[in-house]
């Protein structure tokens, strides 16, 4: 048993100013094992990985790695060293260079600085891509590949470097189902070669599908290590949250009485198109309605809501708010008409990483209030405090820069930003991305509660169940076009799939 272990972490401690991120955490990884690391937002999962890969120095504790001749204590000081020891990481955000080619990305920064032989590099890359079944060419610019393929290139790079330990930190949150399947078959392949894999995710289904073991963390403490097949879901969730999950089936969706022609839509667009969403579409939403755009990744659902918010340059369309013609040419116009927009890619479009949690929370409201009317420190603090409490944002203080929050907590800050503007129409593009199971339910509840209070909401999520649970109308998209709408009884997973595939919808 013992010589099966590839990696063992003992009594790891790590604190940041004001936060104990890890307290006496143990972690063991065996050969050919897929080991899930689970816990709420801010539990310390990413921190554990960063300590392992030398991004952060540990405060105390030991790390042992199986280096051919048994376990040896290692002291990793940088990700580069970790790589050379055979520990590679694939992050959710791609960390390769998008404007280099696939082949260059496979080979940059890999130890020997002797002359590069481009031709053999290309040839070798092509071989690996073929072997791992990755749909990319060696000479293609990485940035032109889809996120999933970019991720796979990162994996191929790790595999080719002969890694013993491969770490995935939330790799699947921006992938669609097929891509996840592809990733999983790649993971299984690696597993059969004896690579130890650490897998961090907030998707329980995925965890159950692929993992052998699971280690649960809560508030920086180790809860335990379990065999996945012996662990009922309910128990896993309650260990992660420290309490039982609310039963989501009790969530009551609002029965909509809309579609009566006398109800004035709060927002209505006719023939709307933007530079990023060239096919004009019509769209409306009434007061207190929750609707959603669905479709595969890249079907144009995000681009459509971006057009509603005027995030991209609007090329055509007439817009009415509460029945009155208005012009929405830029995000500020949309904001002033009470529209809020939580973007899909929080790192690129949402956070202002070096600014504090407080500044990040008040940003949108501050812009609406005006350039010459800054909030006083006390006002800003009161706002921040209120929403940190309301959404349970885990942060050392409101002056902490947002970049040092865990991924899920950053997402909550952006949500807080838009809730604070008190919008009449809120667009949420993947608000639950990177959010833990408990909080996901909280957010769904929040959406329904806002709708109850008369806020209209457009909700986009890759998890169809989530949308079915909250939306009363779904707009289905394919190839950047709206292909149909579903509501009421017709809203089933099957129907959505049929519509996306372009088949007839079964009624009933």
């Amino acid at each position: 048993m013992q010589n099966n272990v590839v990696l063992s972490m003992r009594n790891i401690n790590k604190s940041f100013p004001g936060v104990r991120a890890l307290q006496n955490v143990d972690f063991t990884l065996r050969k050919g094992e897929i080991h899930a690391l689970m816990g709420e937002n801010g539990a310390g999962k990413s921190t554990l990985i960063k300590v392992l890969t030398g991004v952060y120095p540990k405060d105390s504790g030991q790390i042992f790695l199986n280096l051919n001749s048994g376990l040896k204590e290692i002291n990793v000081r940088s990700p580069y060293e970790a790589q050379n020891l055979g520990i590679s990481t694939v992050y959710q955000e791609i960390t390769l260079c998008p404007n280099l080619t696939v082949a260059e990305n496979m080979f940059i920064g890999r130890g020997n600085y002797s002359l590069v032989n481009w031709r053999s590099m290309k040839k070798k890359t092509a071989e690996i891509l073929k072997k791992l079944n990755i749909p990319a060419r060696a000479t293609q610019q990485l940035g032109t590949c889809s996120i999933a393929v970019q991720q796979m290139v990162a994996i191929a790079r790790a595999v080719d470097m002969d890694c013993k330990v491969l770490i995935f930190d939330e790799p699947t949150s921006s992938l669609d189902e097929q891509e996840v399947e592809k990733l999983f078959s790649l993971m299984r392949e690696l597993k059969s070669r004896g690579v130890g894999i650490i897998f961090i995710t907030h998707f329980l289904d995925q965890m159950y599908e692929i993992s052998d073991m699971v280690t649960v963390l809560r508030n920086g403490e180790l809860i335990g290590e379990y065999e996945v097949k012996d662990l009922p879901r309910v128990q896993l969730i309650s260990m992660m949250m420290g309490k039982d999950l609310e039963d989501v089936s009790t969530l009551q969706k609002r029965k909509i009485s809309d579609e009566k022609s006398d109800v004035l839509p709060i927002y209505e667009a006719v023939g709307l198109s933007s530079t990023n969403c060239p096919n004009a579409f019509d769209f409306k939403i009434s007061k207190g309605e929750v609707n959603g755009f669905t479709g595969l990744l890249g079907s144009g659902r995000s681009e459509s809501v971006r057009a509603v918010f005027a995030a991209d340059k609007i090329t055509d369309g007439r817009i009415k708010i509460n029945g009155a013609d208005v012009k929405i040419k830029k995000p500020k116009d949309a904001m002033m008409h009470g529209i809020g927009y939580l973007p899909e890619d929080r790192k690129r479009d949402g956070i202002v990483e070096d600014l504090s949690v407080r500044e990040n929370i008040i940003l949108a409201l501050q812009v609406m209030k005006g350039f010459f009317r800054p909030f006083s420190r006390a006002e800003a603090e009161a706002f921040a405090d209120e929403y940190i409490k309301l959404l349970g944002i885990k942060t050392a203080s409101m002056d902490t820069p947002i970049k040092s929050l865990s991924g899920g907590n950053q997402q909550k800050v952006i949500l807080a930003r838009w809730l604070l503007t008190n919008p009449q129409y809120l667009i949420l593009d993947e608000p639950t991305r990177g959010i833990d199971v408990g909080t996901k339910v909280e957010i769904q509840k929040l959406i329904l509660k806002l709708a109850e209070d008369g806020v209209s909401i457009t909700f986009i999520s890759s998890e169809i169940e989530e949308m079915l649970r909250t939306c009363s109308r779904l707009i289905v998209m394919r190839d950047r076009k709206v292909v149909g709408q579903l509501k009421g009884e017709d809203m089933t997973q099957d129907n959505i799939m049929h519509m996306i595939a372009g088949e007839a919808v079964q009624n009933g």
Partner: protein, 356 residues
Amino acid sequence: MGNGLKKFTRSQLVIPLFSLLLLVVFNLIRDVEFFSVSIVTNNQGNRVLSGNLISILNGASAVAIISIGMTLITSSCKGQDISVAAVAAIAGSVFVSVLRSNEITVPVIILAFLFSCLVTVLFSTFNGILVAIFKIQPMIATLILFSAGRSIAYWINGGATPTVSSPLLSSIGGFIPGIPIPSPIIIMVMFLILISLVLRFTNLGLYTQVVGINEETAHLNGINPILIKLIAFMISGICVATAGCITVCRIGLINHETLLLDAEMDVILTVAIGGTALSGGKFNLYGSVIGAYIIQALTVTLYAMKVPSAAVKAYKAIVIIVIVMISSPVVKEFAINLYKKLFKKQVGTNIPMKAS
């Protein structure tokens, strides 16, 4: 460590203030009298303050004022304007040419100043348009005026280096009769107060930083990044005009070749020492101003130590390397780790996490 102290050590002002303190202490050890200020009668017959301290504060004014604009540009555009000194020469030339075609009175001086402000703001806006709208790297965009600026200044006064003299001008560049503090210091202080008020009563600071850190987020939250960048360049234009005019008043003539020669490099250094990353984002105006005093104090110290003027630049470079090194994140982290190792027990034990 008290909470206030802790906050302070993490703020951007630590290193600049620490460096300044070090310079002061060094000088006091070298010569206790170094900072003593005396009252002398100058050649206009005014009783004025004099001493190294005064000459440091006075000499740094122009660079300090320009560094305010440079900080805003650095923060929002992630790059530097290298044409500031050349544009200051233009401002000085315009100032002189307006003065020379009129009788020098207070309204004429104000008019000349406003006119040179207008001209520099136009030139700055030109830079700003290249940077903000055409998305040209700031250093490349401003390279144009960096090379052409002094030629334009030359052309304004027909190639001459005319002198202007009037008691009014020397009260701006030197002393106002009855006030023992040099006017440039007073103008600098007024400028600083003005800018503090602007930062206090507008969102200029927040918007500038948001644009510098994440332009896409700025756009999606209703901030117009182009406008903010243009504003930064316009404010910089006013700073540059002010510095240019003060310098003209001080020396009493405009020499388009030498006015504030090489000042752009001092200004950029000042911003860097002040704790604003040259790659943009979070900025610190007060840090930049302190940075200007550090550089000036350094120069004065070196001259006081009788370092030959040809060697001064080399010594300056050495000290600046040290300052920039200690503020580098690598060294900072090393220091923090060292601190943790030395005081292991006090750090990070049982600090409860503030959550939900």
